[in-house]
Amino acid sequence: MRSDDTGLLAREPGETSYLTEGTTLRSWLLSTDHKRIAILYAISITGFFFIGGAAATMIRLELFTPQGDFTTADEYNRLFTLHGVIMVWFFLVPSIPATLGNFLLPLMVGAKDVAFPRLNLMSWYLYIIAGIFTLTALLLGGVDTGWTFYTPLSTLYSNSYVLLAAFGIFVVGFSSIATGINFIATVHLLRTKGMTWMRLPLFAWAMYATSLVMVLATPVLAMAMLLICAERLFGLPIFDPRAGGDPVLFQHIFWFYSHPAVYIMILPAMGVVSEIIACEARRRVFGYQFMVYAMLVIAVIGFLVWGHHMFVAGQSPFASMIFSFLSFVIAVPSAIKVFNWTGTLYRGSIRFSAPMLYALGFVGLFTLGGLTGLFLASIPVDVHLSDTYFVVAHFHYIMVGGAVSAFFGGLHFWWPKITGRMYSESFARFAAITLFFGFNFTFFPQFILGYLGMPRRYHEYPPEFQVWNVMSSTGAVVLAIGYLMPLGYFAYSLLNGKRASDNPWEATGLEWTTNSPPPKHNFLEPPVVLTEPYAYHDWDEAPGGADETTQDEPA
């Protein structure tokens, strides 16, 4: 079958890759190869991304007019719940770690596979089982509690399929824990000769920091979901105030996971962007060590800021003060990272490839998302803005403008390595620019709506808010086009794309030293690392010092 001359499987005679080792369905579904599991994950999260996106489309359609004319109140509530649940747990959390992370981490540290390949496969099956539970809840009629499942609404009042969805989320948590354990063990145990901690690419560091958060925070989500099930099924009075329970307790447990979960989504994005910017600017990442420490500090302090979601929930003013203080502190390492990316461009030789456009877009959108986080960390301003569209805009800047842009950037950057094919660079650049403008067009008006006081989760709203909602909905059309375009040119690339060389971007990093696509065991010989990461500077090789001429490679 290897001489098959069309499509993905076509290779030079005699050359094999992970894609050609077995072509049956069974060889994919029972594979323990981290690269194949990454592909399985990539296909599944793409499916969920478009389900969640369809819900978002209907939400924006409904909000086009102030009346609730497109959906009923109940349908609308189910739509935004579905959008949140699917996008957070079935797309954003696994997006970069389970696909790019799974594929690249072993390659980057020079290993044959992750530390526990079978656990890795199990994590995908858990993800699928969880997805089936959640989709069943959806097909039966949906859930109307919001993705936050606040009690006592979710436990005592909702008549929707809360149990199924909560159980699905309980299960999907174990798939992230499995991934996290795998990554931690892989980084600790499987680094190849010469790959010291301070030579790890920042993407590997990002995976490591993310995994720590996954392993430590996700069990608390499992608790929250189990307690909801226990109260709904058996009437165990945990959150029911009439039986002495405390409904606010749920918010503490929930945000103790869900705030760190934001860092599960954004740390991997930071890793991706660091790789792309360094390569496309031909510069070592500015302040490499500070970048590493910043990620670790974010991962740790991320556990201590959950109370900033509860400034108006009736928690003590002293607690609010402390949570506000810590939320300002965590802004510092995030800002450091932005400064360092900017510094990396200095004296670079910048190529505006599609991945680089995504990465630069990320820097802008993440910075704005981070700055608006300062508004929400300030108690008096948060009181005014909490549960308004300002919050919606803020977290979409971080999670969509930030994490999803970086995911797309990473997908383009490593696409030649993963598939062995090139994509249309001009289409990809066009999509990146469309996404950037579509995104701002959709979400910037929501900051204004939020300041004016429009509450979230309203399917009807006073007419004075309409003009901003129309802008936002129009922008969403542009955004949707931006998200659909890659489906087209990536599909074309798979079928007819030009062969990719092993290192089309002339990037550093072990993943670029092996074939595109890599062979089953990643490297023919175990690689040995002799240089610092991001050795992009030509004067590093010539000890004579700085060379004033520029060295430009034809792209």
């Binding site: 609730g68 509530n77 009042y157 606010v248 009736g314 502190v329 190529r351 300062l374 500077h537 430009d552």
Partner: protein, 309 residues
């Protein structure tokens, strides 16, 4: 633009616009640098691309880390200091009781006037809201006043405002509460004090809250044990509100609204030292509004206030 209709609003807006200014500066600096570098160092230009100057290393990193930390702490201090006065509820305020339920706001004025999805208040008078929910969590948000407070079942929460401009303002439920969350809205009408007095007089008056509570006190049978003539051993309720109560386990609690409410609904939770735990629960017997009235009655049973009556 959004009106600044309360005394709190200008302080919130000052911080908000201050942060907008800071964001514009930072976006300008970061965006400007990225753009400048992107143009100057795009591939193919003749710009110098050698090693970084020595100064661009640890010192720069430490410098901007410390500077960012300083800015962050300054904003924290600025915002927190502005919030401190709002944490303290005003001593002399018009006290309004709010009961939220899916999907309406029920409001009671101290004189006994009731409103639904509407609240009339006088301008220039501090108004304190004592709020509780009959079912799920709701939130009382008035953008024009820059206030918002979650309303919880089984507990009282409070917030306050002093309106400074006459007009009608939106009241939104700002915690998702189920099907008709988007319709759980209302209007806050701020009136001149004379107009407010006239409006109050025109409304159908029930008994005032404490008076209503006094009737319930007999009707629900509370007086059989807690009344002045009762022979059953039960703690006296005179002068109870605001006092320290010693419990059976030796600990002390302050008898605030939450304590009174809990003792009506779940009397076994905090038993007063020296009395048997025999009181039945009134949960489901007294409605949320009746509990509010009972608490108002107990609050009125202190020496000073009852003399004034």
């Amino acid at each position: 633009m959004l009106p600044e209709a309360s005394t709190l609003a200008p302080a919130v807006d000052r911080i908000f616009w201050g942060l907008v200014g800071l964001s514009v500066v930072i976006m300008g600096v970061v965006g400007g640098l990225v753009l400048t570098f992107a143009i100057k160092y795009r591939r193919g230009t003749k710009a110098y691309r050698g090693p970084l100057p020595d100064i661009m290393s640890r010192e720069v990193e430490i410098g901007w880390t410390v500077a960012t930390l300083f800015v962050a702490l300054f904003i924290f201090w600025w915002a927190a200091a502005a919030q401190l006065p709002h944490f303290l509820l005003p001593k002399k305020a018009l006290e309004i009781h709010v009961v939220a339920k899916q999907w309406m706001w029920k409001v009671q004025h101290p004189e006994g006037v009731r409103e639904i999805d509407a609240l009339h208040v006088p301008v220039g008078v501090p108004v304190k809201l004592e709020m509780t929910s009959q079912d799920v969590i709701h939130s009382f948000g008035v953008p024009a006043f820059r206030i918002k407070q979650d309303v919880l079942p089984g507990r009282y929460t409070s917030t306050w405002f002093e309106a400074k401009e006459v007009g009608d303002y939106h009241l939104f439920c700002t915690e998702y509460c189920g099907t008709d969350h988007a319709r759980m809205t209302g209007t806050i009408t701020v009136m001149e004090p004379e107009a407010y007095a006239r409006w109050l007089a025109e409304q159908p008056h029930g008994e005032d809250l404490a008076g209503e509570g006094a009737q319930l006190f007999t009707a629900l049978g509370c007086s059989a044990c807690h009344g002045a003539q009762a022979r059953v051993p039960a703690p006296s309720l005179a002068n109870l509100y605001g006092s320290q109560v010693v419990l059976a386990d030796g600990s002390r609690v302050t008898a605030d609204e939450d304590y009174l409410r809990e003792s009506i609904e779940r009397p076994e939770a905090k038993v007063t030292a020296g009395y048997p735990s025999t009181m039945p629960s009134y949960q489901g017997i007294a409605s949320e509004e009746q509990v509010v009235a009972l608490v108002a009655y107990i609050k009125s049973q202190d020496g000073k206030r009852s003399q004034a009556r």
